[in-house]
């Protein structure tokens, strides 16, 4: 896998990297274009992790504020723009999850059925400039994981739990949690290289 060879962008559109350069130069129009490409991914991921609309909207605002502030520091060699934005979305969501854990808020405990599905349904390629093949590969591999591994991946990736917290919550021994997460990550990683 060479992430540099996977430009996550729409054919014919201004490249993500070019937009980030323009944002670094102060173009709010470019920020708007980047928002149009990725807001629905950021929002969906934040909704999946936080459940509440208000919290997810806050994450969207946090992410694009950070893109605006840090565009000058973006380093293409480290990650694609899409990757950078996804990492920001998850990090900001985890921040909120962990502060919520520190200050439990019953209103946050929305029934899971109100959350969007993890990886199903149709995606609009005109709406989201993601590498469909790349995402599809990991989506399929996630579904093929043994149930015990997929559950742990969901607890850590989407619920933001640490390995220790997962062990405490599920009763699975910590060593087993570590092994299963590593095995699952290795399987998903292999799926990306195929």
């Amino acid at each position: 896998l060479d992430p540099q060879n996977r430009p996550l962008r729409r054919p014919g559109a201004e490249s993500d990297r070019q937009l980030v350069l323009e944002i670094a130069g102060g173009s709010s129009e470019a920020l708007g274009l980047l928002y149009d490409r990725y807001a629905s991914i950021v929002y969906a991921l934040a909704r999946r992790m936080l459940h509440q609309v208000e919290d997810a909207e806050e994450v969207v605002q946090d992410v694009f504020s950070q893109v605006w502030r840090d565009a000058r520091r973006y380093q293409a060699a480290r990650a694609t723009v899409a990757g950078w934005i996804v990492v920001l979305a998850r990090t900001r969501s985890i921040d909120r999850l962990r502060s919520r854990m520190a200050r439990p808020d019953l209103a946050g405990a929305v029934a899971p059925e109100t959350a969007p599905p993890i990886a199903s349904g149709e995606r609009d390629p005109e709406q989201v400039a993601m590498d469909e093949q790349h995402a599809e590969a990991v989506r399929g591999a996630l579904q093929r994981l043994p149930e015990s591994q997929r559950l742990l991946m969901e607890l850590t990736y989407y619920d933001g739990l640490t390995q220790t917290e997962i062990a405490a919550r599920t009763g699975v021994p910590l060593g087993t949690v570590k092994t299963r997460i590593r095995t699952a990550m290795a399987t998903l990683s292999a799926a990306l290289t195929v």
Partner: protein, 298 residues
């Protein structure tokens, strides 16, 4: 299982932000010296990104776009006038108006000086000059705004440069310590005053020390956390704690210290400890119970 194997297991969890603070610190220290773990981490980070990207997109409320763009633009101080704005950002408008109104006031005498000429001239000339003056005034406003913008960006770039230099110095120091042949790692455990705290010190006699702690509560008002190194007791004399510096708050709430060479006279470190002391400079010797304590080889 070798020590490296356990870190390889940690790489997957680290990419998912699923390690506890103590384990994350241990892994980061190992990561700096292990090419294999660095490669693993890149692969696992790609998985973490792909997992996020694989989620079914969901369009947020249409009104969120304007709110997001307005908020993103709000903190930036440098005004931009020449650029068409797609958001009516109140902060941007204010930042343009405030510095420039006063400066444009200063250009008025030029306009006023043309008045006698205007009085003697035809109406057409007055209208023409007024239009010209207005155009010049507008051009001056734009130029001044662009100048303010450029100055703002220059200041921002200078601040970035200072940050980058500080980061480079810090990283160089960190790399020197981590690469030191006499590196000793000391794990610190929370004591009764801070049972949830954990810490880790990387110590080299020549290159200095790096210290990182998590789980410490915020120090009391006017108080700071001070790091102490304690050499092995010399013959017949008790070991005396020597201050290694004041801990600063890191980006994620952890407490960190990256120092140059060890305090003068310290040849080896037996114990490392943290206490809370009066700020901002700390104390010559510990005055409160130890909160974190670790022993070399312990």
């Amino acid at each position: 299982m070798s020590a490296h194997d356990s870190f390889a297991e940690a790489a997957a969890a680290y990419a998912l932000d699923a390690l506890d603070a103590h384990d994350a610190h241990q892994f980061e220290a190992h990561l700096a010296t292990c090419a294999s773990c660095q490669e693993d981490l890149v692969r696992y980070q790609q998985v973490a990104i792909a997992l996020g990207a694989s989620i079914s997109p969901e369009a947020p409320s249409p009104s969120l776009r304007a709110r997001t763009l307005a908020r993103a633009r709000a903190p930036r101080q440098a005004p931009r006038v020449a650029e068409p704005s797609i958001v009516a950002g109140p902060a941007t408008g204010a930042s343009v108006a405030e510095p420039d109104t006063s400066r444009v006031e200063g250009s008025r005498p030029r306009t006023a000086a043309w008045q006698p000429l205007a009085l003697a001239a035809s109406l057409a000339l007055i209208v023409g000059l007024s239009a010209y003056a207005w155009t010049q005034r507008g051009a001056a406003m734009t130029l001044r705004a662009q100048l303010a913008d450029a100055l703002g960006r220059l200041q921002s770039l200078q601040a970035d440069l200072l940050d980058a230099r500080r980061d480079a110095d810090r990283l160089t120091n960190t790399a020197n310590v981590v690469d030191a042949p006499d590196l000793v790692a000391i794990s610190l455990r929370g004591q009764p005053g801070a049972p949830a705290a954990v810490g880790r010190a990387l110590v080299s006699r020549d290159k200095g020390l790096i210290f990182r702690a998590g789980g410490l509560p915020a120090p009391g008002p006017g108080r700071v956390y001070q790091l102490w190194v304690i050499p092995p007791p010399a013959r017949g004399t008790p070991a005396v704690p020597v201050s290694a510096g004041i801990l600063t708050a890191g980006a994620s709430g952890e407490r960190v210290l990256e120092s140059g060479p060890l305090p003068a006279g310290i040849q080896a470190v037996q114990l490392v400890a943290v206490t809370e002391e009066p700020g901002p400079a700390g104390s010559p010797g510990p005055t409160t119970p130890i909160l974190l304590l670790g022993q070399a080889g312990g």
